[in-house]
């Protein structure tokens, strides 16, 4: 059974020139799998992720014909109902951990706070927090537990952030460029953590990224977005058989270590793609 059902999702922002639709009718379903959403800046991929969690920034509005998470209609939930879902059953990892962790609170305390709001005792919370830090491959969980976010390196911070999002064992994790600020070698480690969580816990993962190659090597299924629409959906393994010229263009324009194509093929954007 599918975990998430999205039908005809639209996100609109008012501008001086009238309303601008940044997500224009996106539909997909998600099981307990890794789904990648790929697109360039302005494609609406991040707004899609945010809209699912009801986090469309003011003054934007999100509408959908259907937006269901595990049988719960997400449209028009009250702030109170959202609190019961966000952080507990669905979570989000952002690009930069520095903006998502509280800078004046030790990491461990923040983790414990999440657990405590979900009804754990102090000792339980502390134990679970340390376990979680260990689970995201932090070698010295006691030190990180006491550390403040600015004392952590980028990779550590991102792992602490992921621990934070996973501490309540969500069913759905939306990861928006979770590794873009990280170095390639750390990137792979973070992906490994996410991968394990999907396989061991049966979590559903939406992985939003601009990096087509990374997404296709990591996810089961890929949605390619362009100008607020999904232009192509395909199995990650079938990427080389992509049919849409935009997907093909995105793949081709990347320089390769082995290739020596000069000049690199560039993308000629066709107006019809946006229709």
């Amino acid at each position: 059974m599918s975990l998430l059902n999205v039908e005809n999702l639209r996100v609109t922002f008012p501008t001086r020139q009238g309303p601008a639709e940044v997500v224009r009718g996106v539909s997909f379903t998600l099981g307990r799998e890794r789904l990648g959403i790929v697109g360039e800046s302005g494609s609406g991929k991040s707004q899609t992720g945010r809209a699912i969690l009801g986090l469309t920034p003011h003054p934007g509005t999100a509408t959908a014909d259907r937006l269901e998470f595990d049988g719960i209609d997400l449209r028009g939930l009250s702030a109170r109902q959202w609190r019961g879902l966000r952080g507990k059953r669905m979570s989000m990892v952002m690009q930069d951990p520095k903006f998502s962790l509280n800078p004046v609170m030790a990491v461990g305390k923040q983790l414990m706070e999440v657990l405590r709001t979900h009804g754990a005792s102090r000792a339980e919370a502390r134990r679970a927090a340390l376990e979680m830090l260990e689970a995201v491959q932090i070698r010295d969980p006691e030190r990180v537990f006491r550390a403040y976010p600015h004392e952590l390196s980028g990779g550590m911070g991102q792992r602490a952030m992921i621990a934070m999002m996973l501490v309540s064992a969500p069913d759905l994790l939306i990861a928006d460029e979770p590794t873009s600020a990280l170095d390639v070698t750390i990137q792979i480690e973070v992906l490994r953590i996410l991968d394990r969580l999907v396989q061991e816990r049966g979590m559903g993962l939406i992985f939003i990224s601009h990096d087509l190659r990374l997404v296709s090597s990591f996810c089961d299924r890929v949605l390619v977005m362009y100008a607020g629409r999904v232009v192509e959906e395909l199995r990650a393994s079938d990427l080389s058989q992509a049919r849409h010229p935009y997907t093909q263009g995105l793949l081709n324009c990347l320089p390769q270590i082995d290739g020596d194509r000069r000049p690199l093929p560039t993308l000629d954007r066709d107006a019809s793609w946006a229709e």
Binding site: G154, F218, D258, R262
Partner: protein, 252 residues
């Protein structure tokens, strides 16, 4: 053409001393494109900044055509060595039009024939005259980076230092900017030093590359050796592997 020998850069932050570059040596020949690859904190960008005098050198020597560079760098140096920065959103003054961005270096260095030079520079980077009086907020990321390239080239330098010139851009725009840099190099016989975290970009652009980690040079490779995966150190091999993407086998 450019000799960097045992370069050391130390920053002082309060009482703390950060040793950003620890003894890096390399040599760039005229007309060559030289890459420096590393992860954040490897000191790769600091090497570039040290070359152009934006970071203080605490040891070693940088020589340009055989003679050591004066500190602070003189105006003549900046006429021959220019830099393109990583973030096109941060490298253009938000209140200056493209026109004033391009005319300022000409005014500082006392060039004549400014009108024609500005027009030519815009054509060369593939921006028409229609862009001349725009403000940065009226330009896309790729267009901004083209302006930054035009600004660096308008003084007709011989060496261009490129600090992650495409890492803030979308993939399709990256291809356009890389092609532009490629073409300009051939047309003008420029020498490039390109810093990037992306092995594929460096392999595409550079004949030789230096891998850096923790402020030190790990190894120097020719492009062919990179393509043959003939890395001599574990670190380079790890970088090579990571650049392929994620693989399930890693997880096991």
């Amino acid at each position: 053409m450019l000799d960097v020998k045992d370069l050391e850069v130390t920053f002082t932050r309060g009482v703390e001393q950060v040793h950003a570059v620890r003894g890096v040596t390399f040599r760039v020949e005229k007309g060559e494109s030289y890459g420096i690859v590393g992860e954040s904190g490897s000191g790769k960008s600091t090497v570039l900044r040290a070359i152009c005098g934006l970071a203080p050198t605490s040891g070693g020597e940088i020589a340009f055509e055989g003679s050591p560079l004066p500190t602070p760098r003189d105006a003549a140096f900046y006429r021959r060595v220019q830099m393109v920065f990583q973030d096109p959103y941060a490298s253009l003054h938000p209140r200056h039009t493209v026109d004033s961005v391009l005319s300022e270096p000409l005014a500082i260095q006392g060039f004549d024939d400014r009108e024609n030079r500005i027009e030519r520079a815009l054509e060369e980077v593939g921006l028409g005259q229609g862009f001349r009086f725009r403000y940065p907020h009226q330009l896309s990321g790729g267009q901004r980076q083209r302006v930054a390239v035009a600004r660096a080239l308008i003084l007709e330098p011989e060496i261009l230092l490129l600090d992650e010139p495409t890492s803030a851009l979308d993939a399709s725009i990256q291809a356009e900017v890389l092609n532009l840099l490629d073409r300009l190099r051939v047309e003008r016989g420029l020498t490039y030093i390109l810093v990037s975290h992306d092995l594929a970009v460096v392999s595409h652009m550079c004949e030789r590359l230096l891998v850096m980690q923790h402020g030190q040079a790990v190894e120097e490779l020719a492009r062919d050796a990179l393509r043959a995966r003939a890395a001599r150190t574990d670190y380079t091999r790890r970088l090579l592997q990571a650049s392929v993407g994620y693989s399930r086998e890693d997880a096991a």
